[in-house]
C-alpha cells in the first residue's frame, strides 16, 4: 500500500466583494469551478467527484446547500462530499479531495469552498442566542481579542506590529485582482488611527465580510504529468483538532497547531522551515495572528514572530518569507472559501501563476488554515517536484 501522488492542476477564483449581487449561489460557485476547469483544460465530464466545503449553513440559511448545488457542479450521477470544519473548512476540504487522489480512488477531483455572506450577517450567524445564558460575545473578534491581548503581553511586542501586518496585507492585495479590499490610498497612519473595535483589535486589523468561491482541480500523478501547464505537487498534508476549553490550554499557541505543523513539515522532509519554504499563505483574520502563527509554525522562536514582521521578512518586496502575497484573509474573507484560497494561492505560487503577486523562484509553499476557537488546523505543503 503506497500513497499516490496528487497535483493541483487547476485553480479558479471569483472576484471577491461584499455583495456579489450579479449571481445566484449556484452562479457564484460555478464561476470559480468553471475557471478551475478552464485552467486545468478540462470540462465537467472529466471530473470524477466533487468535494465542497463551507462554514455554518446559517450564513445563507440553506441547510446542506450542496444538495441544491449538486447539478450546478456537474455532479448528477457522481459522488459529492460536503466538509465543514469551521474556519479551517476550505483547507480541510482540499485535504479530503487530496485523500481521494492519494488513496487511488479518483483521477480528477474538483474541490471548492464558498460563502455568500451577503445573504445574512456573519455576526448574527456566529452569535445565535442560547436561552438561560449570557449573550455578550460579539462574533469572532470578541472571541480572539483576549487571546491576542495575552500574546501582546507575553511577547512584549511593539504595539503597532498588528498595524504593520494589516498595512502589508492591504498593500499585497493591490497586486491581486481577485482581492476584496483594494485600498489604493491607504496609509499606515490611517491603519493606526482606525477605531478600536474589539480592543486591542482595530477596525483596520480585521477581515472584511466577502462573497466568493475558490476552486481547484486535483489530479493523480498521471493527470499531473499530462498537464500542459506547471502543476503543484502535494508534498505533505495534515489536519489536527483539539477541544476548546480545558485547564491549561495554550490558546495563543495551541498544541494542535504545533503538532499539525510538525507533521506536515516532516512529511515534506523539511528541517529548516524558514529557509526551505519560499512563500506562505496563512490564515490571518486578525492582523496579530501573523506573528502568532509564525511562531506556532516554527518560522520564528516563541515570542519572536513579531520581529519578522518588524524586519519586513514577510513582505513580498524583499522579505525572505513572504506571507499572504494575495492580501490574505485580511483583504478577502468569504469564510467557507478563505482556507481554500490559502491553499490555492500556495498552488499558484508554486506554479508561477500568481501574476503580479508572484514571488520569484518559488519551489515550495505552505497553505494554512485554522478555525473554531483556534482548534481546527489544516495545512499542506506544495512543491514544484514530486515528493
Amino acid at each position: 500500500m503506497s500513497k499516490n501522488n496528487c497535483a493541483v492542476v487547476g485553480v479558479g477564483q471569483t472576484k471577491y466583494q461584499t455583495t456579489r449581487g450579479d449571481v445566484s449561489m449556484a452562479g457564484l460557485v460555478r464561476e470559480a469551478a468553471y475557471r478551475a476547469l478552464e485552467d486545468a483544460e478540462m470540462s465537467w465530464s472529466d471530473i470524477d467527484a466533487v468535494v465542497i466545503g463551507k462554514a455554518p449553513d446559517f450564513f445563507e440559511g440553506v441547510m446542506m446547500p450542496e444538495i441544491y448545488l449538486a447539478e450546478a457542479l456537474g455532479c448528477a450521477g457522481k459522488p459529492i462530499l460536503r466538509v465543514h470544519t469551521a474556519g479551517s473548512v476550505g483547507g480541510s476540504t482540499a485535504l479530503v479531495a487530496t485523500s481521494l487522489i492519494q488513496a487511488g480512488i479518483h483521477e480528477r477531483v474538483l474541490t471548492l469552498g464558498f460563502e455568500k455572506q451577503s445573504e445574512s450577517n456573519a455576526t448574527w450567524a456566529l452569535s445565535l442566542p442560547q436561552p438561560f445564558s449570557v449573550s455578550i460575545n460579539a462574533g469572532a473578534g470578541g472571541y480572539f481579542s483576549p487571546i491576542i491581548r495575552q500574546y501582546m503581553i507575553e511577547s512584549a511586542a511593539p504595539e503597532l506590529i498588528g498595524c504593520m501586518v494589516a498595512f502589508k496585507d492591504r498593500q499585497h492585495a493591490l497586486r491581486n485582482p481577485y482581492a476584496h479590499l483594494h485600498q489604493h490610498d491607504l496609509t499606515f497612519d490611517q491603519v493606526v488611527e482606525a477605531p478600536m473595535l474589539w480592543e486591542p483589535i482595530r477596525y483596520s486589523e480585521t477581515c472584511p465580510s466577502s462573497d466568493g468561491a475558490c476552486a481547484m482541480v486535483l489530479g493523480s500523478e498521471s493527470v499531473g504529468d499530462a498537464s500542459s501547464k506547471p502543476v503543484a505537487w502535494v508534498q505533505g498534508t495534515s489536519m489536527r483538532s483539539e477541544a476548546n476549553t480545558f485547564p491549561g490550554r495554550n490558546e495563543v499557541n495551541p498544541r494542535a497547531s504545533r503538532e499539525c505543523a510538525d507533521d506536515v513539515f516532516s512529511q515534506a522532509g523539511i528541517t529548516d522551515r524558514r529557509r526551505e519554504i519560499d512563500v506562505v499563505e496563512m490564515y490571518v483574520p486578525f492582523s496579530w495572528y501573523e506573528p502568532m502563527w509564525l511562531e506556532s509554525l516554527g518560522f520564528a522562536e516563541i515570542g519572536e514572530g513579531w520581529k519578522m514582521v518588524e524586519e519586513g521578512a514577510t513582505h513580498i518586496d524583499g522579505g525572505d518569507l513572504p506571507v499572504n502575497c494575495s492580501g490574505g484573509v485580511l483583504s478577502t474573507n468569504p469564510i467557507g472559501a478563505s482556507g481554500m484560497i490559502r491553499f490555492a494561492e500556495a498552488a499558484l505560487q508554486v506554479r508561477q501563476m500568481a501574476g503580479e503577486h508572484q514571488v520569484d523562484g518559488v519551489q515550495r509553499s505552505l497553505g494554512h488554515a485554522y478555525g473554531g476557537g483556534a482548534q481546527y488546523f489544516a495545512m499542506w505543503i506544495l512543491g514544484d517536484t514530486k515528493p
Binding site: V62, E71, Q375
Partner: protein
C-alpha cells in the same frame, strides 16, 4: 483495495433525548466501542463525524461534540455536514491511503427541539422551493402518489413494508416505533400527507451512532468477526425536478452497482428509506430479492435520527455480520429530498 473492517458499532436512539446534550448522548457509546475493542482515543488514527447545525438550532454543534471524543492531546479529525455514513466513507478513504490503521466515526442528531419536517424545507432550492416551505412529508407524498398511480408500487406493498418494520423493530432495542405489527393496525394509521399514513413515514428520533474501523490484522486482533467492507460507493442525483425521475432511485442504483452489491447473494440489507415507498424504490435499485432479510432492525421507519440514520444502517448491518447472522450484508444511507443522494456499503464476514 486495502482490507478495512467495522470492528465495533454502537448506537443510542429514542424519541427524544430531552435531558441530554448531543455530547451526553454520545459519551456512553464512545465508552462502549472502546470497551468492545480495547482501543483508546490515543490509538485512533483518524476521527470523522457527521451532523447538522439546523436540527437543534445552534451553530457549530460539532465543535461541542468534539469534547465527547476526548480531543487532547490533539487528534487528527474532520467533519462532514452530512449523515455519518459519509463520515465513514471519508474515514475509509483515509484508511485506504495506508498511513493509519484505525478510525473512529460518529454522528448524531437531536431534532426533537424543532420541527424536522419544516426544518428540512431549508434544504431545498432556496429560490423556487424553500420559500413555499413544502414539508418533508408532503414531498414524500408527491412521490408516493406518483408511484401508486403509475403502478410502481401497490398500496398493499406499502402496508407490507410498514408491517415488516414494526415486526422487525419488536426485537430492536433502538427502535422507537414497534409492536402492533398487523395489517389492520397499519391500515388504520391516520393519513398525515395524503396518500401517506403515519406508518408510511419514518418515526422521528434523537440519537447517535459510533463505529470503529480497523485495517488488516488490527481488525482481526480487536474483533472476533470483523465486518469487512468489500465495496463502498456514493452518488447523487440532481436536485431540480428537471433532472429527476421520482419513480426510481437512480443514484442508489449507480452506487450499488459500483459497490458490487449484485456480485453475490445478499443475506441482510439495511436500507435508509424515510418512507415505505422509498424502501420499495431502494429494494428495486439495489436488486434486493426474497433471499435477503430487509431491515432486520426495523429500518429508518422504526426510528429516524436525522444525520445518523444512515450510519445506523451500517452499524446494524455490521453488527449482524459480526454476530454471524449473515455472511454478506449491504447497508444504505440517503440524504436530500426524494432519495437524492445515496451511499451503499457492502460488508462480509470471514
Amino acid at each position: 483495495m486495502r482490507d478495512v473492517a467495522i470492528v465495533a458499532a454502537g448506537q443510542r436512539q429514542q424519541a427524544a433525548f430531552t435531558d441530554e446534550t448531543e455530547v451526553q448522548i454520545l459519551l456512553p457509546i464512545f465508552e462502549q466501542v472502546r470497551n468492545d475493542t480495547g482501543l483508546e482515543q490515543s490509538d485512533i488514527g483518524f476521527t470523522c463525524s457527521g451532523s447538522s447545525d439546523f436540527l437543534a438550532g445552534s451553530a457549530f454543534s460539532f465543535v461541542g461534540t468534539l469534547e465527547g471524543v476526548g480531543a487532547y492531546p490533539p487528534i487528527c479529525e474532520s467533519h462532514v455536514e452530512m449523515d455519518g455514513a459519509w463520515a465513514l466513507y471519508e474515514a475509509w478513504v483515509k484508511l485506504q491511503i495506508g498511513e493509519i490503521d484505525t478510525a473512529l466515526v460518529y454522528s448524531y442528531g437531536k431534532s426533537s427541539p424543532g420541527s424536522l419536517r419544516d426544518v428540512l424545507s431549508t434544504q431545498l432550492d432556496p429560490y423556487y422551493l424553500a420559500p413555499l416551505w413544502p414539508d418533508a412529508f408532503a414531498l414524500g407524498a408527491l412521490q408516493a402518489r406518483m408511484m401508486l398511480e403509475q403502478d410502481i408500487v401497490s398500496r398493499d406493498r406499502l402496508t407490507e413494508i410498514a408491517v415488516r418494520s414494526r415486526d422487525h423493530a419488536s426485537s430492536s432495542p433502538h427502535a422507537v416505533r414497534k409492536g402492533d405489527a398487523t395489517t389492520d393496525f397499519v391500515e388504520a394509521s391516520p393519513v398525515i400527507a395524503d396518500p401517506l399514513r403515519a406508518d408510511d413515514c419514518a418515526a422521528g428520533a434523537d440519537g447517535g451512532c459510533v463505529i470503529i474501523l480497523a485495517a488488516g490484522d488490527i481488525a482481526k486482533n480487536v474483533c472476533d468477526r470483523p465486518a469487512w467492507i468489500r465495496g463502498i460507493e456514493h452518488r447523487t442525483d440532481a436536485h431540480s425536478l428537471a433532472g429527476r425521475d421520482l419513480l426510481s432511485a437512480q443514484s442508489a442504483a449507480l452506487a450499488a452497482n459500483a459497490a458490487g452489491v449484485g456480485d453475490d447473494k445478499i443475506d441482510i440489507a439495511e436500507l435508509h428509506g424515510p418512507f415505505t415507498h422509498q424502501e420499495h424504490l431502494l429494494e428495486t435499485a439495489l436488486g434486493i430479492t426474497d433471499e435477503t432479510i430487509v431491515n432486520p432492525s426495523g429500518g429508518a421507519l422504526a426510528g429516524h435520527t436525522m444525520m445518523a440514520a444512515g450510519l445506523m444502517r451500517i452499524a446494524e448491518a455490521a453488527t449482524r455480520v459480526s454476530a454471524g447472522a449473515g455472511d454478506r450484508a449491504v447497508a444504505h444511507a440517503t440524504s436530500g429530498p426524494w432519495l437524492q443522494q445515496n451511499l451503499v456499503c457492502v460488508m462480509e464476514g470471514d
